[in-house]
């Protein structure tokens, strides 16, 4: 199935959940609303003909215009096709549905995106920081992040 067919199928089934798409890109992607991503992923994972059984990567992005995003790279072992999904949310309300019940891989990846970007994944079973310490101030990969002067009494800047 090529990206255009995947997009048309999703558009027909979910309609409003599919926000935008760029299918002639090197990695074709389909934009999904943060509230619809779980439904779409469950469909892509389970439906015959799609069978996206492999979440290659889940990453967080700060677009530096007040928006945060989560990018899902999906691959299907049986069908040998792939697609990228993007869920864009705002910095004021950084909430995206968790897909960790669809792919176990997403569990730690979502924790990393939460740690680095402060994106809250609703429905995640164990949303804690995964890399930084629990008391680390802020989310370091956000573009407006400022390195703290001190952390637990230790000077941080060089």
């Amino acid at each position: 199935m090529n990206p255009q067919e995947i997009h048309d199928n999703l558009k027909a089934k979910f309609g409003a959940a599919v926000s935008d798409a760029k299918l002639d890109a090197i990695q074709p992607w389909i934009g999904i609303t943060p509230d619809g991503i779980l439904e779409v992923c469950q469909f892509l994972h389970g439906e015959a003909g799609f069978e996206f059984d492999f979440l290659s990567c889940l990453s967080g992005v700060d677009y530096n215009d007040g928006k945060l995003g989560v990018v899902y790279h999906l691959f299907s072992m049986p069908q040998k096709h792939k697609i990228a999904l993007k869920a864009i949310c705002t910095k004021e309300k950084p909430h995206v549905q968790s897909v960790s019940q669809v792919w176990g891989t997403a569990n730690w990846h979502e924790r990393e995106a939460y740690d680095m970007f402060g994106i809250v994944f609703d429905g995640h079973p164990d949303l804690r920081r995964i890399l930084c310490g629990d008391d680390y101030p802020g989310h370091p990969l956000r573009k407006d992040f400022k390195v703290p002067e001190f952390y637990n009494g230790m000077k941080v800047p060089y």
């Binding site: 310490g133 680390y136 390195v147 637990n152 230790m154 000077k155 941080v156 060089y158």
Partner: protein, 163 residues
């Protein structure tokens, strides 16, 4: 002159200064804390293996800080790890020594500017005796650092504490 100033052949008596004897004992069996932090740890392991054989200097890895004399901080010290390093150092019995191995633990290394999570030098939390530069240092460099530390231990005195 070695550590033995006088030796009486028939009566099995030797005379040495207490300083010299203690220092000799200490520097000849520097037990090392068995832990590694990053890629420098690979070089440290190579130094322990047969080609470089750090054990010929009396360095034996021990798995608990209570039995250690020297801590080789081999790699990037993250802020999260720094508190653990401090605790491990505090658990070591005196006299205790620290070798800072590699650019990361010397001064932050490649993370010096944008490393929001890296401590810029382990000497911000624990006192360091010998710095070994390199990224990562070759095992020979670590051995050189160890010999420098032995020289430092040799100069110690009970009357005048140096650390």
């Amino acid at each position: 002159m070695g550590i033995l100033n006088y030796k009486f052949e028939k009566s099995n008596i030797v005379i040495a200064s207490l300083d010299g004897l203690l220092n000799w004992a200490r520097l000849s069996s520097l037990y090392q804390m068995q832990f590694g932090l990053a890629c420098c740890a690979i070089e440290m392991m190579a130094a322990s293996a047969s080609n470089f054989d750090i054990m010929r200097f009396g360095v034996i890895p021990r798995a608990t800080p209570r039995q250690c004399d020297v801590m080789i901080v081999s790699g990037t010290v993250t802020l999260k790890m720094a508190t653990r390093i401090k605790r491990l150092f505090d658990q070591m019995p005196e006299p205790r020594y620290v070798i800072s191995m590699g650019s990361c633990s010397n001064c932050g290394g490649p993370y010096w500017e944008h490393g929001y999570h890296v401590l810029k030098g382990v000497d911000r939390v624990i006192p360091v005796d010998v710095y070994v530069p390199g990224c990562p240092p070759r095992p020979e460099a670590l051995l050189e650092g160890l010999i420098k530390l032995q020289e430092k231990v040799r100069q110690e005195s009970l009357a005048k504490k140096t650390i």
